[in-house]
Symmetry: D2
Subunit: 344 residues, 4 copies
């Protein structure tokens, strides 16, 4: 198959290449850019020397229409106008930005401070949380790939919310991310000397992933809730660990919580329900498409601590996008994604 | 004055020397050890070459009794037996471990899994959260210096709890610490290649600082509560950031929250109430005795996010211990502690 | 084919699994240990949950004899006695330690301070610097896999020495390595709080890789030389960058140096001769089996700076070991090793 | 005394404040800027909240003339035009940039690619390598503060060159620096995700500190030499370690080398000659004004490895600048500079 990537120069795009390079169904990869037409990709990214000594191509709908699938790994506010003309032209479309995730355009405008995509295109899009939406993904031609934080949060919370084991009325979600989540554009916040050796909180109560998480909880668990969600920057490159807190429903036990998670994910190769409390850390999934989940009921307070761990660039972006492509094209979900976590 | 330090070879002890070295009231410092008698301190810690080319001394009560103040910077379970014989012999005693913090010996035994100190000595001890207990500290001869996490948590939560601006019945505290908090003894958890580039959670619902925080909330805010408290390891050396969550009392505004903090700490030189949401990070206090506090009410959920930031080795240990010494001896609190945060 | 690994619990062993997991010729992998028989591997290394939920096996010659190849990823001084009895029993043997590299047993004893392997076994062993010894490797049944530093140094220096473009009489080699090179055993040197944010030199003029480099320069370049070689610890997990300095032979130009490198490695898929001076760093090869080489003649001093860059755990250990296995069994060298550098 | 700082918003300027804050002779500090007049300093740098809540002032010669000393902590090419009009107006001038270091204006232009300062001003300037130029510094009104790399290199090499214990004809200097040396302006090179976990070489044979080092070797050791000098980026914030290599003169012993260093620096409080090979690392001097020096003769090759270690922002910039100010004003060199290395 032929794969096109728009915005290949971002970290999400680079990470897609890391996996697609060994994807046995992929014949060719086209790299598209809005601004660097003609640049040899490996000149810009020398770690790809001998691997991608190919020029970046100008974004062109006739050219893109010839691909089997087109990924947009662009900043928010780009694919909202770039993708709609491609709908129905042939290629399956997978958007890694937030532009097609929120069904409510006003909400998009409020949280993203950007012009939303056309309602019609948004209505066509399917939310690509693979483990929870496989059937719809298989049918869809436009996939809104989930955000990095929502992936870690939803995979860990949805089973317990859907089965009413935890109280949806006071959900506290404290999330932490490595700095690659901020992308590859230099800024004071991501300047080494200032980001290094410092842990900080950002976008307090204002992160655009809040409405995405609430919408998905409604969609997949049938629960209407307002979450408290905060995000922190960790002085490391990759990884997200989200720690959530909730009261358990009366009488719920640790065993019920763990059984619910095990039962939900028993047939899902990329979700691991962790038994060992000492094994809950981002190095356990680093570089891989795994999401590790852990739950612990505190008998003293009757509150549960629920943890989701992913590599923000893989299961939180490029990996899940390829997983969705595999579903769309009827390949086994693991195709091209069986890289072992590198741990150190 | 003459200062004695037991357990000077730990990070807390080293950090005390960093500040005491420029403390104008300190004439001499004696370094005591249980195991390395005679070792030249700067041979063991070459960064102190030309500064502390002195031998470690054997722990000896007659020698210790001649000091004006004796600090114990030892692991839990040591000062519980080491300090009681010194009570009343002359020196003021300041314990940096957890051995004299919990008034309930059964609780100590349950959380620390160690034999508690004698009830009599524990009763004599005063909890050294300087900003909240200055009067008692001035009178005391035995100070239980607070834990690193409790310092960040209590300084940020106590004003709001005491003035009933937040609901004490569902306090979620999500704390993060640099790895120096684990001390200087090598282990797999603190092995560079495995700790580096990984963010993890540990001691889920089981951290020994839980009863300390609950006891102090009762003591200083008059509130009986059961907290949810979790701790995470950040791949950096220094710093603690504690993010707490609570419902605000009906009608409470952001302004009331901020006014309460400002009013509480207006005369306290080491607590800074931060206005700028972009300035909440551990690099803002690194190497200094400051505690930065920030509060933000989320109108959407009526929940407040309350943040406390410290250097775990300074305000969370050595710095506060010296601050307490200053109070005991009637010096200005800032004496010897006016080092500027090094930021980068 | 069936692959056995002795010492799979070290970083070298873990890294072998990361590559062998996707090696299409490998049917099964047996994990052997001297001390943890029966331990489920993924319990010890949770990042391998669902991948290697298999028990570690006791080292047993009858069992090992049934494998097609056996790797020893053990500390120095182990395979010297472990491997000789296996020679000739069937499996190809690849040793990742230093035990079979030095042909001169006295030299081994002097630099390693350990008892050498039997002369007969050492004589049988072939030095596994793949690009320079492919023919001998194909024939051999016992391979001494090169050290991490020698791999980076030799691949960059050998072409220029062999073609007499640089003066062998004053070779200065200043090498730097990430901390994973020290292995997975905790120590004060590798304790996070002390290794983090510090750059240091170690084993000044005493590194055991010195005789290995000199022996290989004699073997492959036909030059007898005494090198100056020093090693430094970089506060990162992976990567080696070796900077070498030498006078060029009279009249030699930059073009001759670069041509020599290009010509030497034109048919070697894992060596990249870098053109761009801004692309010489360990993140360019991280996680991959590449060795990047760069050379720059300083016209002002007529001295050349020659740089070799590898991932110490891959081309410096596990990756080259698998590359050698591929050669021994007649597979394309890249089999199982085509992972893209992860860059960030 | 009154101290003025031009370019206080750079890391060098921030570091000056960290030390001047506790300098007992300093009454007031004025902060000057070319672009951010009126900005409250602690709003820009919140770690200085409660310490420097003062506005940045416009650069104005009448105002500057009222200060006892004026520091320029500006990028190259600024003080060359900014300082000359101030010469003779009253304040002592200390330039932390490279604009007044090179006596040969053509050389400055060649290496810095900038317009040099007027020859007259350059002639007036004194090179501020405190330990080697104290007398001239005391007399001078314009000091060219040394570069960070030259400080580490010169303090370690000068004694051995001056006493002809090492051969000046083949000096190889391999230097490594933390990333703060690149300043506070964001760039791709200093972007956290790309600088983190990577070790790289830069400005191969082209660093502007080369002529500065050669000029100083001529000035203080009376030797004319062409050095080979390369610089590397270490993924840490602070610290420089420079490893130099040279043949020793016939018959020279390790003891002679060490005696030479000890004798040279016996009365210099900020240079420590290190005995313990395991104590040669940047964490030994971090945050302090120390320069640690170590030398080791390799009997096998008759070459010496000579190491200099500093904190690039302190002894390599702000600390040495204050040390020079102390000399100019007749204060003890240590005044305000007695901060203990923070080690971790």
């Amino acid at each position: 198959m032929k794969v096109g990537i728009i915005g290949a120069t971002g970290y999400g795009g680079l990470e897609m290449l890391r996996f697609l390079h060994n994807h046995k169904e992929v014949e060719s990869i086209g790299l598209f850019t809005s601004s660097e037409e003609g640049t040899i990709f490996s000149d810009k990214f020398p770690h790809l020397t001998d691997l991608y000594n190919v020029p970046l191509q100008k974004i062109d709908y006739d050219a893109l229409a010839k691909y089997d699938v087109v990924f947009a790994s662009t900043p928010s506010g780009v694919s909202s106008s770039l993708f709609p003309p491609l709908v129905g032209l042939g290629p399956k479309l997978i958007d890694l930005s937030g532009d097609f995730r929120l069904k409510d355009l006003e909400s998009y405008n409020y949280w993203y401070k950007k012009t939303p995509a056309p309602q019609e295109a948004v209505n066509k899009s399917v939310y690509g949380l693979t483990e929870w939406n496989e059937h719809a993904i298989r049918q869809s031609e436009l996939i809104a790939n989930p955000g990095c934080y929502p992936t870690a949060v939803l995979l860990s919370l949805l089973p317990l919310l859907k089965h009413k084991l935890i109280d949806p009325n006071f959900l506290i979600i404290d999330a932490k991310s490595g700095i690659s989540g901020a992308g590859n554009k230099p800024s004071q916040t991501s300047h080494f000397s200032e980001a290094n050796e410092s842990f900080s909180i950002y976008k307090i109560n204002e992160h655009q992933h809040i409405p995405e998480i609430e919408q998905a909880i409604g969609l997949f668990a049938g629960v209407d809730t307002k979450i408290t969600f905060n995000t922190h920057l960790v002085p490391m490159t990759r990884g997200i660990l989200a720690t959530s807190y909730a009261h358990v429903t009366d009488g719920v036990t640790q065993q019920q919580l763990i059984d619910c998670l095990n039962e939900t994910y028993k047939n899902h190769p990329f979700v691991r329900v962790i038994q060992d409390a000492n094994a809950v850390g981002t190095n356990q999934v680093k570089g891989s498409n795994y999401c590790d989940i852990y739950v612990k009921l505190d008998e003293r307070t009757k509150r549960a601590t629920i943890i989701g761990v992913i590599d923000n660039l893989v299961k939180g972006a490029a990996g899940q996008a390829i997983q969705n492509m595999n579903v769309q094209f009827g390949y086994p979900q693991q195709t091209g994604l069986q890289l072992v976590p590198y741990f150190i």
